[in-house]
Every structure is written in C-alpha cells, then in structure tokens.
C-alpha cells in the first residue's frame, strides 16, 4: 500500500492506505483519532466534519491522496482541554443529547465563526444546515453558536 504524509493536529503522520481511502477512515482506522464520526459516507450528514486549512470539510469524501501539505484539524486538536469558545458554549448550554454528531457540529461552527464572527440567527441556521442532529438539539446548537460568537468577540 502507498504511504501518505499528513499533518494532523499539528503533528506529522505517515498513513499507509489505498489512495482512494477517505480521510475519515484514515483518521479513525490508521491514526486512532475516533472523535471524527461516520454518519452517512456521502457528505450528507456532517458527522465527519474536520478542518482542512481552516475550512470545514466532510472527511468521508476526501481521499488521503489529496491531503499532503494540508493542515488537518480534528475535534481532538481543536483545543487543549475542550477550551475552544465553541466547546465552552456547548457545555454552558448543555447541547449534546447522544453527542454523536457534536464533533461535526462543533467543527462546522468553529470554522464558520472564523469567517463570520458576528452572525445573525439566520446565518447560523444556514451555516449549520449540513450537519444533521437526529436527537434534534437544533435549538441548543443555534443558541450555543450565538454564545460562542459573543465569547470570540
């Protein structure tokens, strides 16, 4: 199998995988970074969201072969001790129910607030459209993103 040099959460990693292996499975099965979740495999649910050079990206569709020289950030690398403002807001609001989708939600929200630190309610809703929460904590996710925005500001 070919090998790829990835930079994940600031660390260099060598991954031995087929070229078409989605980043999601390289993270989970090769690097044991299981915080990034599998939900649909077709880019529909957002559970697998990571940052690629700061942009929220679905890792289930992205082959490892396209990712050398990119900065990859997963939920494990978003902050030390869960201290990112988005994570703090998540805890304040007690957002998670089952929690399975929350890594993806948090990665989407944190990248979004980098580009739009003071979003309107409507902008938050649209930004989070790609992330399904089957427990449907949408009211709380929305509130937490707004609180995180205040913390960042």
């Amino acid at each position: 199998m070919p090998t790829y040099n990835l930079k994940v959460n600031g660390e260099k990693q060598v991954v031995e995988a087929e070229s078409d292996t989605p980043l999601l499975w390289a993270l989970r099965d090769n690097l044991d970074l299981v915080g990034t979740k599998f939900g649909c495999g077709i880019g529909q649910c957002g559970a697998c969201t990571v940052h690629i050079d700061g942009t929220a990206t679905r890792s289930c569709l992205l082959p490892v072969s396209a990712l050398e020289d990119k900065e990859i950030t997963t939920i494990e690398g978003l902050s030390e001790n869960g201290s990112h403002p988005v994570q703090q807001a998540w805890k304040e609001v007690d957002v998670p129910q089952c929690g399975y989708c929350q890594a993806g939600q948090i990665m989407t929200a944190s990248a979004f607030l980098e580009t739009n630190p003071k979003p309107t309610e409507e902008e938050i809703k649209i930004a989070m459209n790609g992330n399904i929460c089957r427990c449907s904590a949408y009211n709380r996710i929305q509130r937490a993103v707004a609180i995180a925005s205040e913390k960042i500001g």
């Binding site: 199998m1 995988a17 087929e18 078409d20 292996t21 989605p22 499975w25 989970r28 099965d29 090769n30 044991d32 299981v34 915080g35 990034t36 979740k37 599998f38 939900g39 649909c40 495999g41 077709i42 529909q44 649910c45 559970a47 997963t74 939920i75 494990e76 978003l78 902050s79 001790n81 869960g82 994570q87 998540w90 805890k91 007690d94 957002v95 998670p96 129910q97 089952c98 929690g99 399975y100 929350q102 890594a103 938050i124 809703k125 649209i126 989070m128 459209n129 790609g130 992330n131 399904i132 929460c133 089957r134 427990c135 449907s136 904590a137 949408y138 009211n139 709380r140 996710i141 929305q142």
Partner: protein, 728 residues
Amino acid sequence: MAPIKNISRRGFIKGIGLASGGLVLASSAYSFSNFGSKEEDILEFNPNLFVQLNSNGSLILVASRSEMGQGVRTSLTSVIADEMEADWDKVIVKQATGDAKYGNQNTDGSRSVRTLFETMRKMGATVKAVLITAAAKSWKVPESECIAKNHFIIHSSGKKIGFGDLVEIAKEISIPENVILKDPKDFKFIGKKLPSIDVENLSNGSAVFGLDKRVPNMKFAAIKRCSVAFGTVKSVDKTEALKINGVLDVVEVPMLIKAFGPLGGVAVIATNTWAAFKGRDALKIEWNYSKNTSYNSETFMDSITANVHKPGKVEKSIGNIDNAFKKANKTHEATYKLPHLAHAPMEVPNAVVSVKGDICEVWAPIQSPQAARREVANFLETDQSNVTINVTFLGGGFGRKAKPDFIVEATAVSKAINGPVQVVWSREDDIQHSYYHTVSSQFLKGAIDKNGKVTGWLHRFALPTIGSTFTPGRDLPQPWEARSATDVPYDIPNLQIEAGKADAHVRIGWLRSVINIPHGFAINVFADELAHEAGKDPLEFRLNLIGKDRIQETKDAYKYDTSKLKHVLKTAAKNAGYDKQLPEGHAIGLAVHYSFYSHVAAAIEVSVTNGKLTIHKISVVIDCGTAINRDTITAQMEGAAIFGMSLAYYGKITAKDGAIEQSNFHNYQVLRMPNAPKIQVEIVNSNDKPTGVGEPGVPVIAPAIINAIFKATGKRYRTLPLSDHGLV
C-alpha cells in the same frame, strides 16, 4: 417520608420491586475492579450494586440503563446522590454491563426513571443511613444528632467528617432494616436542572461510542445482506473482493429466523473499514429471494386499506355503534395512511466482538444488553456467564438498538475468523435492513347529534404487528398495540375499536413512541375533523370531547387522568397564543395524547405561503409526574418535536419487489436546522410518580401540524409525509 419496612437483604430485594428478583446487594457479589481504585491505599465500600464509596471521597454510581441521549446516566445517578446527600462533583458514573443482577436493563419504553426512581432513592438513602450510623458510632453520639450534608456527616455540635473518611467503619455496619426517604421539598438535584455528567467528553470527542471501540488485533468487517427480507445466499463469488488491498477474508454469516437473529449474508473481513466496504461492494452474490419479493408498498397500502373499510376484529365495544350512526344527525368518515419509518440513528448499528472458545466479550451501543447476552450465549451454545456485554455510548437509539441482531452477527463473524472484529453497518445497510416502524391504514367514522355532540366513534386500524417479528405469520396486533386506540380518552357513549389484518413483509420493530405514532395521528386529526363538522372551535370541542374530570379505566397499572389531559392541552394552547391575534395566514393546530403514562399536548403555529409550509413555533406541555431533571426533560421534548417534524415532513420508507427503495439521508431525509422552529416547553409541576419522557413528545407533533395546516388553508391532509404533497 414513608419508611421502607423490612429492609433485610432478602426483603429489600423483594421490596424494591426489581422484576427479575436478581438484584444482589452483597458487596462480595460485585467488584468494581479497574475502576476508580487504582491506588492501592484506597479502601472501597460497596454497600449495594449501584454505589461504591471510596476512602478518598470519590463516589462511583452505576448506571444500569444505556445512554443514548436521554440523559439517563445523569438522571438515575443524581437520584442516588440526592438521597445520599452526596457532592455531585465527587460522582463518577460507571456503566453497568448486561447482567440480570441489575433487574431489567431494557432501555426502551420510556421506563428507566419511571421504574427505577424509587429503587435509586432507596439505594442512596440506605448508604446515607449507614454513614450516619458509622459517624455516630465513631463519635459515640446518638444517630439522631447527626445529619448528612454535601458529602459530610455533621454532628449537632458542629463537628463533621467526610463520607470517604467513614468508609473503614461503614464496611463493618450492616444494611439498615428501615430507611427514611427525603421529603421532596428537600431534594437538591431532583426537580432541578443538572447538566449532563458526560458533557465534557461529548464536546471534546473523547466519549467512546460503539464505533469508536478498538481492541488489539481487531479486524473490520462489512456484511452484504439480501435486499429482500429473509432472502438467503445461493452462491457467492469472492474473487474480486479478495483482490482488494486490505481485504483478508470472506465468510458467510448464517441467518437465524428469530426476533433478534441476524439476517445473514456474506461478510468481508479487512484491515480497515474502507477496504471492508469496498470488498463488500465487490462481492458477486446470487440470492434465493424469499416470498417477500411480492412486497410493494403501494399495493400493500391498498390491501390494508381494504381491510379497514370492512369490519375487523373487535378490540373494544361500548354502547351500540351501529345505532349511533343510524340515529346521528350527521356522520363523518376519514381514512389515514402512514408509511414505514426507519430510525436512522446517527451512529449506525455496529459491534466489536471477541470470541475465544467459549468466552465472548462484546462492546456495543445496545439498548438491551441482557437480550444481547442471552442471544450471544444461545448462538455460541455457551452459558451466559461466559458472555460479557460492555455497553458503550449510543449514538442515538430510537428503538433500533434495542434489537441485538447486529451483535449476534458480529459474534458469528468473530467466531468464524477466530479473533476480534468490528462489524460496521453502512448507512445504506441501516436504512435498508432495519426493523421498520409499521405502515398503517386507519378508518374512522364519527356520529354527531344535532347539538354538535359526538355520539359515536368507530376506529379501525390495520398495520403489520411487532408481534410478527416474534411470531412469524402473525397478522393481528398484540393487545398492547391496540391499547393506544382502545384507551381513547373521549367521553362518547358508543365507541368501537377494530383491528384489520395486515401481514408483515419486512422486520417490524419499535421506533420512538411506537404505535402511538399512527394512533395518536388518527385520533387527533379525526377529532379536529369532527370539530369542523360540528362547527365548533377545535380547542373547546376537544375539551368537551374529553369530558368531565375522571380517572380513565385502563388495563395498565397507571391510570390516566382526563383533568391532566385537559390541563396540558389548555396550557399548550395558551402558551402558543391560541386566543391572540396571529399574523395574516398563520394558524395554530392542536394535539394531545397520553402515552408512556405521560400527558402531552402540542400547539403548533404554521403558515402556508405559495404552497410551502413554515412552522413558526411549537409549544409543548408535558405532565410526567415528578420531574427528575428539568433540563433533560426539556431537551427530550425539543428533540421529540423535531423527530415528529421529521416524520411529518419526510418520513417514508417504501418497498419495491421486496427491496427498500431509500438508502441514505438524501432520499430518507430528516429535519435540518433551517427548518427547526423555536420550541417552547412547559413541564407541569407534580409530585406524582414519574412517568415516561423519551417518547411521549413525538405522537402529538404530526397531527398538530396537519390540524394547523387545515386551519390555515382549509385543506385536510390525511397521509404523510408532507413532502408527498409538495408542502415542504
């Protein structure tokens, strides 16, 4: 404040009402090894199965039910901590394995808090009593001069000692015969808002769900199953699959025709999930399709609809329904048709299983760890004591993960390859091989007298029964599946409920709120239709239909209370602004339903503009007796409202020639944030026994939407989903 009598060990077991009788209090029967006691100098005090107090003050409380987002790890343990007067910051929650000694562990039926509240209170109160005895003994003072407060025992003189410092003495003290439970007004956690004990791990990616479990030498596997339920493998060509880098082996998985038996198929074993998926897709399999190839959703709906348009099996009859229709000033009838649904939890079914000879260890997101243990032991023809079921976090359950078929099949694969394996379902597997929520057709006919009063109510329903999953061929409902129709809370002199035949062609299972989805829908929409026929306001009409305050006679131990039903309905309407002037084109629809022993109402404000529906606000009111964790209950109502919206908007699973036509979230949609309205939740204050929370918020949503659309537009929709009508 009632003392619990006869709390000797045997008596305690009997008295606390754990159905299995398997609860063991003796500390020797249970070990907390590997948990919270790494340091050798820490002493442990294990007064009962659910509590371990360590000499360093840390308190380990056991959650015997599975956590799937309903907050059970927090709510159950907070009840113990409350009665113990423990410091919540010192609590560590340990998840129980599947074991009969815990009593029933099935985490479904909205029953965890309802059935364990008193037990957990007694567990905590017992430990508090022992600690008071221990402190009194060491101080040589009467126990009556000691109280417990925030992890300390305090003497009236002011001296105090920490719980942890009492462990050595407490170990020598026998469990008391009687314990006094707290007065509800003194509750510290119960009835308050306690954040989830797991919120940190659920926000930083470290919580371990089933899919996240890794064990040494673990392989990954994906299984190809027949597209038609209960089809079997005729032949398999594995040549192409084995060429894929990372694929190690291909093995057949047996089908077991039993409720929680695996569907069977062909498993591809690989070094990683991606290779397993690719290998699975490369298999060439010829199938023996079963008789279920005849299953087509459209023709099936026609056939069960024909069955409700003729007399069925009478489930309940009061008065004389035929006379009521003859004498009526007006009759009205309607037929409602609802499709199959799939649970689609965000985490797909999966399991890690390691079989070594007769010994088997499982790590899985399972709602029913005891059923899993039983089924795995049966499959391996070994004793249950050789099987350990470790319960991980569940990435959603909704009833799907109450069926351990996915664990049994992983056991089969592990046995075949003689090593540990994680079987991963793809989303397509999940949508196409579920235990589906039933499809239904329902016919209702009402008689109205000249005063607009309802004098007759006929409700016929036909739907494949969950009983068919346990007894293949069964085509009439089980008694409990009729109850949400027969227990209709309306004060009507002539009432008849009938069940029509419906056979099953896929596996039928329970999905969040189960039979209450179709029954709650038909009953609530039809009542709204009758209000219109009678020329009455829907709220006033409904309150009159429920009638005078009474405790409704039912076959259940809990009785429902029509005054509570009316109260939640009136409150929901008030909170929604039912009496107020709404913006142009807006209307509020109502629904009220009793399920899982809770009374719930929803008032939903909608508008329809250019043929498109918008939901502006949902007001939900629940009376669930004593509220344990108000924030959790609110979250469950919020989630249930959106779950109900998802099924109303998009929920539809269909079959063509026996194969499910939907496959993933693009064609089995669920609601996303832009469509999520503000949800306002009110919890009725009550000191009654706690009742269900996880499910009863669902059944009221879809009918309230339908009733609101009618009020806004004059159009009555009798089938779901609304996407079929172009409304969303």
